[in-house]
C-alpha cells in the first residue's frame, strides 16, 4: 500500500475580508465610482475619507449589497454580498438608525435577532441593550427616545448578530458623547477580536485612532490608499493636502 502523498501547500492568496475589484457605479450617465480597487484584509480597519460627493456612501452601499456595481465585483470573504450567508457576516450602520419608531427597543432588537436567525433572539437583544446602556428603557417605544438613545440602539442593532465585517457610514456624525464612547469601545473590541471594519468618515481624528488603512476617494476614484501611519494620525489633513484637490 502506497503511503498517502502529503497535501500540496495552499498557494492561493489569502481571501480578503472585503474585496473591491475594478468597481464602477453609474447614476444614469454619471459615474459615481470609477474603477475602484480596494481591499481590507481580515482584522483591518479601513477608513474611507473624502469630501462630500466623493463616493464614500455609494461605495459602502455597494459593499453592503444595497446596490449592484455597474462593472466590477465586490466580495466579502470571497463571496457576493447578496448571498444570504454573506449578509449574516455583515453589520451596517448607515445615515438612518434603521429601527422602528413604533416598536420598543427590545422588540426592535428581537425582530432583527429573528431575521438573522439567532438561536435566542430575546437573550441577545437583552444582552446588547445592557451593553449599550439601554436596559432600563427596553420596553419604551423608540419614538419616545432621545437622539443619543436612538443612536445607541442603532449601534446595538448593527452589532447584535456579531458580524465579522462592520460597514459604517459616518458613524461618529451627530453622535452625543456617550454614544461616541460606546461606539469607540465596541469598535476597539471588534478589532481586537479580529473583525474587519470599513468606515466612511469626516471625523478624521476619531477614525484614524482606529484605522489600520486609509483610502482617500476623490470624485469616485481612489486618490490614495495605504496603511494608517503615525504621520497621518498626527496630521490628518496631510493626505488631503497631498492627494486631494486642495
Amino acid at each position: 500500500m502506497t503511503p498517502p502523498r502529503p497535501a500540496a501547500p495552499d498557494t492561493r492568496p489569502p481571501v480578503s475580508a472585503v474585496g473591491i475589484e475594478s468597481v464602477w457605479k453609474f447614476y444614469g450617465d454619471f459615474p459615481a465610482l470609477k474603477n475602484v480597487n480596494l481591499e481590507a484584509p481580515p482584522g483591518a480597519c479601513l477608513a474611507l475619507i473624502g469630501r462630500n460627493g466623493a463616493g464614500k456612501t455609494t461605495l459602502l452601499r455597494t459593499i453592503a449589497g444595497f446596490s449592484r456595481p455597474g462593472k466590477g465585483a465586490i466580495t466579502i470573504f470571497g463571496t457576493s454580498p447578496r448571498e444570504a450567508e454573506t449578509r449574516r457576516l455583515m453589520g451596517y450602520i448607515g445615515h438612518g438608525i434603521s429601527v422602528y419608531d413604533e416598536l420598543s427597543a427590545l422588540e426592535n432588537l428581537t425582530l432583527y435577532g429573528r431575521l438573522y436567525g439567532l438561536p435566542n433572539p430575546r437573550a441577545a437583544a437583552l444582552d446588547w441593550l445592557e451593553r449599550t446602556g439601554l436596559e432600563r428603557v427596553k420596553d419604551g417605544l423608540v419614538r419616545e427616545f432621545s437622539r443619543g438613545m436612538r443612536q445607541r440602539l442603532a449601534v446595538a442593532r448593527a452589532f447584535l448578530h456579531e458580524p465579522k465585517v462592520l460597514l459604517l457610514d459616518e458613524p461618529f456624525t451627530a453622535l452625543d458623547d456617550r454614544a461616541i464612547a460606546v461606539l469607540q469601545r465596541l469598535l476597539r473590541e471588534a478589532l481586537a477580536s479580529g473583525k474587519t471594519i470599513v468606515m466612511s468618515t469626516h471625523q478624521l481624528r476619531e477614525a484614524l485612532e482606529l484605522a489600520t488603512h486609509v483610502a482617500l476617494l476623490n470624485r469616485g476614484q481612489v486618490a490614495f490608499h495605504g496603511p494608517c501611519t503615525l504621520e497621518l494620525v498626527s496630521d490628518p489633513g496631510w493626505v488631503y493636502a497631498r492627494y486631494g484637490e486642495g
Binding site: 449592484r68 449578509r87 438612518g96 416598536l103
Partner: protein, 226 residues
C-alpha cells in the same frame, strides 16, 4: 421552515407597527365609509339597480381604500432607513415580499369586512345569501390586489410622487381581476350562486393570483436592489 418563519416575522412586525399607530387602517376605513355614504346620498337607486351596480361600487371602494394601505407598505420602511436593514438581513427578498403581502392582505381584508355590512345597511341590500361564495371572491381578489400593490409599493418606494404612482401603475394591471370580481360580486349580492355560466371569472381570478404572486416573488429581489 426558516423561510416561513421569516415571512411570519415580517408580517407580524408590519401588523404590530400598524396597530400601534393605526395610521393607514384608520385612513383606509374612513375613506371606505365616506365613499359608501356619499354614494348612498348622491343616488337614490331602486333595489334592482343596487343589485346591478353593487359589484362595481364595492370594488371601486375596496380598490381605492386598499391603495391607501398598500401605499404605506414599503413607505413605512423609509423612516429611519429601515429598508436598508431589511435588505441587508440574511432573508430572501421573496420572504420580505410575502411577509409584507400577507400583512397587507389581512389589513385590506379587515377594511373590506367592516365596509361590507355597512354597504348592506346603507343600501338596504341583503348580501348574505351567498355568503361563502362572496367571501371566496373577496379573498381571491384581495390577494391579487395586495400582491400587485405590494410589488408596486416596493417599486415606487423611492419615488417622490409614490402616492400617485402606485394607483397609476396598479389599477391597469388589476383591470381583469376587478372586472371578474365586479361581475361575480353583483350576481352573488343578487343571490345568484356561481354557476358554469360565470365560473370562468373565478378561474380567471385564481389564475391572476397564481401568475402575479409567482412573478412578484421572482422579481422582488431585482426591484429592491438597484
Amino acid at each position: 421552515m426558516a423561510f416561513f418563519r421569516q415571512v411570519f416575522v415580517i408580517m407580524a412586525k408590519d401588523l404590530r407597527a400598524e396597530f400601534r399607530t393605526k395610521e393607514a387602517i384608520n385612513a383606509s376605513l374612513s375613506f371606505a365609509l365616506v365613499v359608501l355614504l356619499l354614494f348612498s346620498f348622491a343616488f337614490d337607486p331602486d333595489e334592482e339597480t343596487i343589485r346591478a351596480i353593487s359589484g362595481g361600487l364595492l370594488w371601486i371602494v375596496f380598490a381605492f381604500a386598499g391603495t391607501l394601505l398598500l401605499n404605506r407598505s414599503f413607505a413605512r420602511e423609509l423612516n429611519n432607513d429601515c429598508l436598508d436593514a431589511l435588505i441587508s438581513a440574511p432573508i430572501p427578498g421573496s420572504a420580505l415580499f410575502l411577509g409584507k403581502a400577507f400583512a397587507n392582505f389581512l389589513l385590506v381584508l379587515a377594511v373590506e369586512l367592516v365596509a361590507l355590512p355597512l354597504f348592506g345597511i346603507f343600501y338596504n341590500v341583503h348580501w348574505t345569501s351567498q355568503f361563502w361564495q362572496l367571501m371566496l371572491v373577496i379573498v381571491l381578489t384581495t390577494w391579487g390586489m395586495t400582491v400587485t400593490g405590494t410589488i408596486f409599493s416596493a417599486l415606487t418606494v423611492n419615488i417622490r410622487l409614490r402616492e400617485v404612482m402606485l394607483p397609476i401603475l396598479n389599477f391597469p394591471i388589476l383591470i381583469p381581476a376587478l372586472l371578474g370580481a365586479m361581475q361575480l360580486t353583483s350576481s352573488l349580492v343578487a343571490g345568484k350562486p356561481i354557476t358554469a355560466d360565470n365560473d370562468s371569472w373565478l378561474k380567471m381570478l385564481i389564475g391572476f393570483d397564481v401568475m402575479y404572486t409567482s412573478v412578484s416573488v421572482f422579481l422582488v429581489e431585482i426591484v429592491l436592489v438597484s
